[in-house]
Symmetry: C2
Subunit: 562 residues, 2 copies
């Protein structure tokens, strides 16, 4: 049968997300690709704008395998760069616009971009970052200023006139580019299309490399993951700099969907956009969920169609139930930058713990942990030393691991970190979880966050889920506080909702006692703001330092339970 | 940037349709995979049955790259073989059960299968074919008898007792197989998963090879092509032997859909199944459309949900309108075995010809030609000698060509035919078509069927579409009849519907004159049965011979127009 293996250029072409756009321009050229306030484009226009951009970039010296940075909110230009940059053969890095200049400087030094696209709102921070870098960098990147589509941002231009950087306008690039530009096709579908930097909550941000193949297959998988129909209307509430918008940038072209771009996200904007455009899908973290759940009645509107809300992170049951009450369909997602966004997604439902659970004696329903039935890759839970799969008995914990095609290629210029991320052909998430006998995965905690207390293992996520289910609690984080006898004791940091009244320590402890076994109930409760990093994640290492520094008696704004 | 290219077994695995089944067993193990009369399976059960089958086949000597033939209607066993055979590393060939023993013998000689799975209805024809082959074949293949799931077909067993072939029962294979069988993974996703034989209307049937990669990507594309939601209920009206059921065998596992298997298709069975199972999708040729359109009122039922009907071939507008009137959504598909089934699909709609058309002066709406806006691969229309793309002007004809990943690898043991199928990196369909200025493709005709008459080019498909739009016409085929002065003249063969009354030649010619320019109106009309090949395609070469043999005056059952 060896003679069966025939290969022709006709029947083998690299899997490229850019091909989705070419097809979209052909197959539904007149359909709306992007809406942004009063502006909208058709797929034919988006294709032509991307060709022009790629052409202009090439004219200005961009070569295959160069990198291009972009710092912008979810506006059409950032969407277009997801196609235009790979069309020129280069690698896109959409940067987190919440970063400070010092962190941006670290990233830019590693990335060495030939171009930096910057939205007018973020010019200052980029100029400061470049200033910080000026000694270290050789040739300065060319800055491309993105202004609003329907306004002349003369103020910014004046600012820039005094800047030392070379600057060109986005609109000028579009004017100088040609639509007959021939796309630079990578020879190998394993070549990189983008770099996404992790938040770097501990240590320097790492640049996670996505291949064309991985991005292509993840985009196609979005149909299954996010329960998408053939032409979704996607409301951009998840940042495009986060795993390339969970790969929905490319997926919308694959499906011929419509992107509703938003500069700023708020409850009012979300409800208005859903009603105006019949949006079918929106994604994001718990902040998106909370905005909808807590929207004042004056900002809410009845949904005109079925709206899917896909949320990653810990989902407070009370908030989910509120949002479902408004008519949304909620799915729960679990993933990370290294697996190109969500890898496990599951329709949210209250979670009835089985008899193996430590909560057996408590007759309450818990929100489920992080589980997935819309898994797209191979997933297993393994003992990380021996790499043996754990028993699927609903109690044996291990590390969640993935393998498949929709994983990162590795970390940019960091072979050591890359080596450590993989083991024996699996990607190590460093998250702990367990398999229920029916094959459902329950995520317990980050390996480094788990609390070991008097021989018992405590998932901080589970304690947090209980805290978050209290109607007065907005945010909660639990960490281990060192203890002479028990090794660690759970310590809770809680931020209360505004307008729901105060709460005493006794009240929250009693609430936990009703729902958790004794060893899991927080011994210390501290009220106040939670420290978060640039991507909005709670910085548990900061809280651990704080918890351990606290004297066992005096507490300014909290309480202790013996 | 060369150091970006990092590859780990964790983040690169071959694209295998079998992985859809593994994921389905994990992600929706309890959901229904297959319904067949009173029998149904869950995805977990289907996975385990396929593992058992693969294990048993391996125990019985099946090795990677061996071939396995199957002759059966759309029953669960044939569905299972689509996974079990590749799990054992082998290549599946689902054969057309309408073939006669002589044609089957030719195919089996080329295929050299190690196993032949045969449904109890088709035992005779297989035994005859093997008899014909007995001298030519070395080691005889092992026959596997598939009986009905809930009956003992003792009659067949008695028949077989006298046969010379080695025979084993499907149910015995399931019993002897182990569920801990470890799948044989191909090293290369370009390795073959299946062989689909063309009808061979001219010359010997050709074995079209599908790679794992092509089948995987086509399955994912079905979401877009057939407008499938995340869990479709697929009513099996398209034969699984036809491009592996348009790749919907594998696609259902990818989507976690439910397959409603049918041994025989009829209007009553279709309506009953749609109502009983809330079927969402059914596919096939015009026969499926006609069955639904012409179903007597007593067999029709109101649809319980949105039902998508995807039909390949020439669609008579009157029939489509009837079916739409019953609530079905109709899409029109164009493709062929070599592109793994439909490659262009488009929601059906009456087609308003533009001003460039030769029908300009006729104020009628035509059913559209074969067009596609749900295209999944690159398509172009080229002048086949120079390979230059034709003008997209709505009139310049050329040959439709494809390239991309969802194309055949080549023809089994036929390097010459493979070579001829491709040219300069494109697959040649041998179909003529044109591009409208808006990018829509209109298919005109098979290159070999087109009629050249007095310097005018006539698409037989367009004349047939007009004939089929007459309420009394069931089938129609138009061919060129040699003519001394005009080179060719159109000659129509027409089969009338039963129960709609007779029709005179004058009536049909007048009908054509009202809607077609004079040179396209058939000069000869012949009433009667149309000769079809094993897959139901009209044999135009037979009709051409017949047309040219007819004297210009005497016609038994037809008429001529000067």
């Amino acid at each position: 049968m060896d003679d069966l293996l025939l290969h022709f250029s006709a029947n083998h072409s690299p899997l490229l997300p850019v091909s989705f756009l070419e097809r979209a321009a052909h197959a539904f050229g007149d359909k709306v690709s992007i809406v942004y306030g009063p502006v909208s484009f058709s797929w034919r226009q988006t294709h032509q704008r991307c060709l022009r951009l790629a052409s202009a970039l090439t004219q200005l010296g961009l070569s295959p395998a160069h990198t291009v940075a972009a710092l912008a909110p979810n506006i059409p230009a950032l969407y277009e760069l997801h196609f235009a940059v790979p069309m020129a053969g280069a690698v896109l890095s959409a940067l987190n616009f919440n970063l400070d200049a010092a962190t941006l400087a670290i990233i830019l030094e590693k990335l060495e971009p030939k171009f930096i696209f910057v939205d007018y709102e973020y010019v200052d921070v980029i100029l400061t970052a470049l200033q910080l870098l000026s000694e270290k960098m050789g040739k300065r990147p060319l800055l491309v200023l993105i202004q609003e589509l329907d306004q002349a941002a003369t103020l910014v231009e004046n600012d820039l006139a005094s800047a030392t950087a070379d600057i060109v306008k986005y609109s000028d690039l579009l004017d100088m580019g040609e639509t007959d530009f021939e796309m630079v096709k990578p020879k190998n579908e394993g070549d990189p299309i983008s770099v996404n930097f992790t938040s770097g909550s501990t240590g320097e941000p790492k640049g996670v490399l996505y291949s064309h193949r991985a991005a292509y297959l993840k985009s196609l998988a979005s149909v299954k993951l996010y329960d998408m129909v053939s032409a979704p209307v996607f409301l951009w509430t998840v940042d495009m700099f986060r795993c390339n918008g969970w790969c929905c940038t490319w997926a919308m072209a694959a499906l011929g969907g419509t992107s509703i771009c938003l500069r700023n996200v708020s409850a009012r904007v979300m409800f208005d956009s859903i009603v105006l455009h019949n949006a079918t899908h929106l994604c994001g973290g718990p902040a998106v969920l909370n905005m909808i759940a807590d929207a004042p009645a004056s900002e809410r509107k009845p949904l005109p169609c079925k709206v899917h809300l896909i949320i990653a992170g810990v989902l407070p049951m009370s908030q989910v139930l509120k949002v479902e009450g408004l008519g949304f369909t909620v799915s729960h997602a679990y993933g990370m930058t290294e697996v190109l966004g969500p890898a496990l997604v599951r329709p949210w439902r209250p979670y009835q713990l089985n008899s193996n659970s430590s909560y057996e004696h408590k007759k309450v329903k818990f929100p489920e942990g992080l589980l997935g039935d819309r898994v797209i890759e191979e997933v297993d839970i393994k003992e990380p030393e021996t790499m043996k799969s754990v028993q699927r008995d609903g109690k044996t914990m291990g590390e969640v691991m993935f393998r498949g095609n929709t994983l990162m290629s590795g970390y940019l210029k960091d072979p050591k970190a890359t080596q450590e991320a993989f083991k024996d052909g699996w990607y190590r998430t460093r998250d702990l979880g367990l398999f229920h006998p029916n094959g459902v995965i329950q995520l317990k905690d980050r390996a480094k966050d788990i609390i070991v207390s008097g021989g018992e293992i405590i998932s901080t996520l589970e304690v947090e889920a209980v805290l978050l289910s209290h109607p007065k609690v907005l945010e909660a984080a639990v960490v281990g506080k060192r203890d002479e006898y028990l090794k660690e004791k759970p310590c809770a940091f809680v931020k209360l909702k505004e307008g729901y009244g105060a709460m005493s320590c006794e009240e929250i402890v009693k609430f936990c006692e009703e729902q958790l076994p004794d060893f899991m109930v927080p011994r210390t409760v501290v009220f106040g703001e939670l420290p978060v990093n640039s991507t909005g994640k709670v910085q548990k290492f900061t809280l651990r330092v704080k918890a351990n520094a606290m004297h066992s008696i005096s507490l300014e704004n909290g309480c202790q339970r013996s």
